[in-house]
């Protein structure tokens, strides 16, 4: 496999404090570091009692936050802050599918699950992935949202996702992993669980499956065109032809213009396997990535294999992997790290972070070589995003 090189615009490492934005089943929290990343301060909760699937800072202005919120009783919405979380206002028109014609059954958004800022050249543009699987776009910083008709009304949408399912996230079908090519705002990738990876080269007007080489062991068809269970796709911002995918059936890499994913998870230890939810990329080295394996055997416990949590890092694009468990529980650690719950900062060495279903946040200031718990006793964690640095 070719070694990907970052382009000429490789940014200098960041050097300031880091803020983590943590979405949980019962609200959102901020965790702020000192410059050394040794001391961490927990603040919040915001939206106490509400389900927060994703809380994302706009890197284009460094102060606008969008937060995907729903309460157990109430419908899904998006809140936005333009002052780094001091105050919040609800979207005037949250993501919603069109009203169906009389006699027809329409779709209703159950959760806003994933938020992605738009291209750097399009300030105010955002994408949202929702459950049931749908894609929405805002042109005004998240105040109003419109469906991306090319996907939501695509006649192939229902076949792609295997028909409508009843459960939403965290236990059901959703659209996530919205990646915008930094060279071209019209070039988009999305992931659907289940449905697969899809690509658009015309700003979302049309889509095509991009799943060759990806296993779908749960389907009766060999090498299906779609129907795969994508857990997370990340495009490297400095080498945008390099994509990594953590799938329900393995870890993959795709170097465009190739069409066939390569199963780089085959190099993982057989006793650990290559199943997990998140996949995290090094901000400056397209060949370095982290995963957090989970048990995908028998009834799919989805916890750390053997109760021994560990991240695995590859420094060569997935050719080889190294276990990183120093500081983590040596045994009886039975948590799950969800697809939005692991991330990296922009420092040197890179800080790597993950949040657990048991409400802990862990960090490593040395690229995974040693882990430290920086928050405990939070609600079940759905997402962790890092900013600043």
């Amino acid at each position: 496999m070719p070694k990907a090189k970052a382009g000429k615009g490789t940014p200098r490492p960041a050097s300031g404090p880091v803020t983590l934005f943590v979405g949980t089943r019962k609200g959102a929290f901020f965790i702020r570091s000192d410059r050394a990343r040794r001391s961490w301060t927990l603040a919040g909760p915001h939206f106490l009692g509400n389900i927060v699937n994703h809380l994302v800072l706009d890197p284009r202005d460094g102060k606008t936050l969008l937060c995907a919120v729903r309460a157990g009783h109430l419908g899904p919405t998006v809140f936005r802050s333009t002052d780094f979380g001091r105050t919040w206002k609800e979207a005037q028109r949250p993501p919603a599918f069109p009203k169906a014609a009389p006699g027809e059954k329409g779709l209703a958004v159950e959760h806003v699950f994933w938020l992605t800022p738009g291209h750097a050249s399009q300030p105010g543009a955002w994408y949202a992935g929702v459950s049931p699987p749908g894609l929405f776009r805002s042109e005004d910083g998240g105040v109003t949202w419109e469906g991306v008709v090319g996907f939501n009304a695509n006649p192939m949408r229902s076949p792609w996702i295997g028909g409508e399912q009843e459960q939403g996230p965290p236990d059901g079908a959703t659209l996530h992993s919205i990646n915008v090519d930094p060279r071209d705002p019209g070039h988009l990738y999305i992931g659907i669980s289940v449905g697969g990876a899809f690509e658009s080269t015309d700003g979302g007007a049309s889509w095509r499956p991009l799943n060759k080489g990806v296993a779908a062991d749960f389907l009766p068809v060999k090498d299906p065109e779609y129907g795969h269970d994508v857990h997370c796709i990340r495009l490297h911002p400095l080498a945008p032809d390099r994509l990594y995918q953590q799938n329900h059936c393995g870890i993959y890499r795709l170097d465009r213009l190739a069409e066939r994913w390569q199963r780089i998870g085959s190099a993982m230890p057989k006793a650990i396997g290559d199943i997990g939810f998140p996949i995290v990329l090094h901000p400056r080295d397209p060949d370095t990535l982290w995963v957090f394996p989970m048990d995908g055997g028998t009834v799919w416990p989805r916890v750390s294999p053997g109760g021994k949590p560990a991240a695995y890092v590859s420094r060569d694009g997935g050719r080889t992997w190294r276990r990183q468990d120093r500081g983590l529980p040596a045994k009886q650690g039975w948590f799950t790290v969800k697809r939005q719950s692991m991330c990296a900062d922009a420092r040197d060495p890179v800080g790597v972070y993950f949040g657990t279903t048991s409400g802990e946040v862990w960090m490593s200031a040395n690229e995974g070589d040693r882990w430290t718990s920086i928050a405990r006793h939070l609600p079940e964690i759905y997402s962790v995003e890092a900013a600043g640095g």
Partner: protein
Amino acid sequence: MNVLIPSQLRDYTGGRAHVEARGGTLAELLADLERRHPGIRFRMIDEQDAIRRHIKIFVNQQPTRDLGTALAANDEVVIVGALSGG
């Protein structure tokens, strides 16, 4: 008429449990509530005009899930958030 707002929705009514709204049907009442308290309707009613699963609406103590339910000026409308589990 008087509408009882559940605690889950009082962010939209400035904390008030009882608010006034008008309408000849439940749909019209909800539209009036939305005019007076923007954003409140979508948290209760989805884009297909279905009352959300964990919202219950009572008109004169009778449950209804029909937005076409007729209302009179003195009717009492109670909105309840109903969710089991943790």
